[in-house]
């Protein structure tokens, strides 16, 4: 498991070691935040009786560089710990200072806690040149409870200039993979538009639709179709309406009452249109009544309670739940189950899927909802996208298998091209 970089782990171990010993001293000495120019040389204090009151050694190997892969305005200052920053409590933190000239005057750019080895100065001007110093300091309270800070000497590093980059090289592989998937999706959409056949596998829940509608017809009972509680801007609702079109067609053929209670006015309009189209397709536009699609309420629990009542009163033979569902899923599924209806559900809400799987006869899981909608509507956009996404999945599966084999044989760690920051 790669949880952290080796450098970080190393530092973390170090930090953990002296955390305890430092805690006592630092409890009453929060770091100073105010900007002030610290002296260049070590300060000696007359009252300093404690050996700890001698200035700590400075940070070593200070490096400055433009922060890479950014839009400019930032310099990364890094250093190695002061030899005194090793758990004996002689370092309270680091003071980073900067100047536009090598000789100063230096102003505070920021503070870093002890054990830290870098600081990002986000307030630079890309047109200017900067010099930096990193000093270690020790802070304590004197007898009068005054905060005393002793700062180490520091050497000047620089010059450095920040700049913006035109391409974030860390993200090159992301771009390549995205272009592949995007290309595949567009290619297959175009292909489907031209009328080329795109195969989609059978989906269990969809095969059961015929049976479920047939059963309602035999029993002379109603069919309920619940399109979820999201508006038309949710792709799940869009997919649901496409499936509704198909169900409505069957219901029209069998002359079975199909009822669609909705919770958003936009969905009401769209669902009506889809139903009209379906009934017209089978040549029975007059059979459709306005009352078949009706609005209940926008409110989540109000909607669930109203449908609950309908289910108990009317005892439908078949209930479809297709679309975006939230906490109301289990209330609906339980009630439907209690009247013995055949229930077919489909949603891409991972948290609600368990309830549908446990309480319904068939459940379209996640992407199956979209696949079902493409399968039934045969719309080129949906078919092409589905196929293009499959190409992406195929590529990923291939990469995983090849990558794991290579990694296990210690040939090449392929994960580096996926792990992008």
């Amino acid at each position: 498991m790669r949880l952290s970089s080796p450098n970080l782990t190393h530092n973390c171990l170090k930090i953990a070691l002296f955390t305890l010993s430092l805690l006592l001293i630092s409890l009453n000495a929060p770091l100073a935040q105010d900007a002030e120019t610290a002296p260049d040389t070590a300060v000696t204090i007359e009252q300093a009786v404690d050996s700890a009151n001698v200035a700590p050694l400075p940070a070593v190997n200070v490096m400055v560089a433009d922060l890479p892969n950014d839009k400019g305005g930032a310099v990364l200052v890094s250093w190695e710990l002061s030899p005194d920053d090793d758990g004996n409590g002689k370092v309270s933190g680091y003071l980073v200072q900067r100047s536009e000239s090598k000789d100063g005057p230096f102003e505070t750019a920021g503070n870093a806690v002890r054990g830290a080895t870098k600081f990002t100065d986000n307030k630079t001007d890309d047109d200017k040149v900067y010099f930096y110093k990193v000093a270690a300091y020790f802070e304590y309270l004197d007898a009068a409870e005054e905060k005393i800070r002793i700062t180490s000497a520091a050497t000047v590093t620089g010059p450095v200039q920040s700049s913006a980059q035109w391409f974030n090289m860390n993200r090159l592989y992301v771009l390549l993979f995205m272009l592949f998937v995007a290309g595949a999706i567009i290619f297959y959409i175009e292909k489907a538009k031209k009328g080329d056949e795109i195969y989609i596998r059978k989906i269990a829940g969809i095969d059961a639709v015929d049976e479920a509608v047939g059963r309602a017809t035999e029993m002379g009972k109603k069919i309920f179709y619940i399109p979820g509680i999201q508006d038309m801007n949710d792709v799940q609702t869009i997919a649901s309406i496409a499936i509704l079109g198909r169900v409505a067609q069957m219901a029209a053929e069998y002359d079975t009452w199909l009822e669609v209670p909705v919770s958003k006015s936009m969905v009401l309009v769209t669902a009506r249109e889809a139903m009209k189209e379906a009934y017209t397709k089978v040549g029975r536009p007059d059979a459709l009544q306005d009352a078949q699609v009706h609005y209940l309420t926008d409110d989540q629990f109000g909607y669930a309670a109203a449908i609950d009542g309908m289910i108990v009163r009317e005892k439908p033979a078949t209930i479809f739940y297709m679309g975006a569902f939230f906490a109301e899923s289990l209330i609906l599924a339980e009630t439907g189950n209690s009247v013995g209806a055949i229930q077919i559900a489909g949603t891409a809400q991972p948290a609600q899927l368990p309830f549908f799987v446990a309480a319904c006869d068939y459940t379209l899981i996640g992407e199956e909802l979209f696949a079902a909608s493409a399968y039934l509507s045969r719309e080129p956009r949906q078919l092409g996208s589905l196929k293009g996404q499959d190409m992406g999945k195929g590529l990923f599966i291939l990469c995983i298998i090849v990558g794991v084999i290579l990694a296990t044989l210690n040939v090449w760690d392929m994960s580096v091209i996926f792990a992008s920051k």
Partner: protein, 214 residues
């Protein structure tokens, strides 16, 4: 005052709970109160933390006003045209901005975090070793294999342009098992969550209101 406040909160709590017996006017009244108060709560917070603090003080009263913010406010006002059906179509402009920006941000965000990084983490030496001693960590090795099999078979299950037959079909079947265990875990956690919420309310009723806890 504290006493009265707690009584009010307790009555509202019981009012909502009365729905468990059956739908009734008290519940409906509490629900209406909830709808009204929460809509106004949101409106107030968005007004002071955004419209006032970000826009008004940034673009109107600031010493160096950021005139770009005016465009945001105008787009926001266009959104309100939805209330007037005749000119409601202009609300599509701000809508287009949000939908477009979300699409752009998500396209990359989901792809990087939920696809690329997850694939990258799945690709690893299946023989896991202890970080300190270098000995083979059998538990972790087995776990890594479980994840590998689960991810691959799950992806195969969500593969739609090939029929689930033969080896491919069998793999997909394994995929459904993993999905079911995942949903089971989710189910258990959801139950846990719902129970916690109830415990929170009962703690309020018994503790803060009736004062019989501790």
């Amino acid at each position: 005052m504290e006493m009265i406040s707690i009584w009010i909160a307790a009555i509202l709590t019981l009012g909502i709970f009365s729905f468990l017996y059956k739908d009734n006017p008290l519940y409906k009244a509490c629900e209406a109160l909830f709808v009204g108060v929460s809509a106004a709560y949101w409106a107030i917070v968005f007004y002071f933390d955004n419209i006032y603090k970000k826009f008004y003080e940034g673009a109107v009263t600031a010493e160096e006003p950021d005139y770009f913010l005016w465009i945001g406010a105008i787009l926001g006002l266009l959104f309100l045209t939805r209330l007037v059906p005749k000119i409601g179509w202009v609300s599509r402009w701000p809508m287009a901005l949000i939908v477009g920006a979300t699409a752009g941000l998500w396209m990359v965000g989901y792809f990087v975090s939920n696809a690329m990084n997850q694939i990258g983490n799945t690709i690893s030496n299946i023989i896991a070793r202890d970080e300190l001693t270098g000995a083979i960590a059998w538990g972790e090795t087995f776990g890594t294999m479980v994840i590998l099999v689960g991810v691959v078979s799950g992806l195969v299950y969500f593969f739609f342009s090939k029929e689930h037959k033969g080896v491919f079909g069998a793999t997909a079947k394994v995929g459904t098992w993993f999905l079911m265990v995942t949903f089971g875990a989710s189910f258990g956690y959801t139950v846990m969550s719902r129970m916690s919420l109830l415990i929170g309310r009962v703690d309020f009723l018994l503790g803060d209101w009736l004062g019989i806890l501790r």
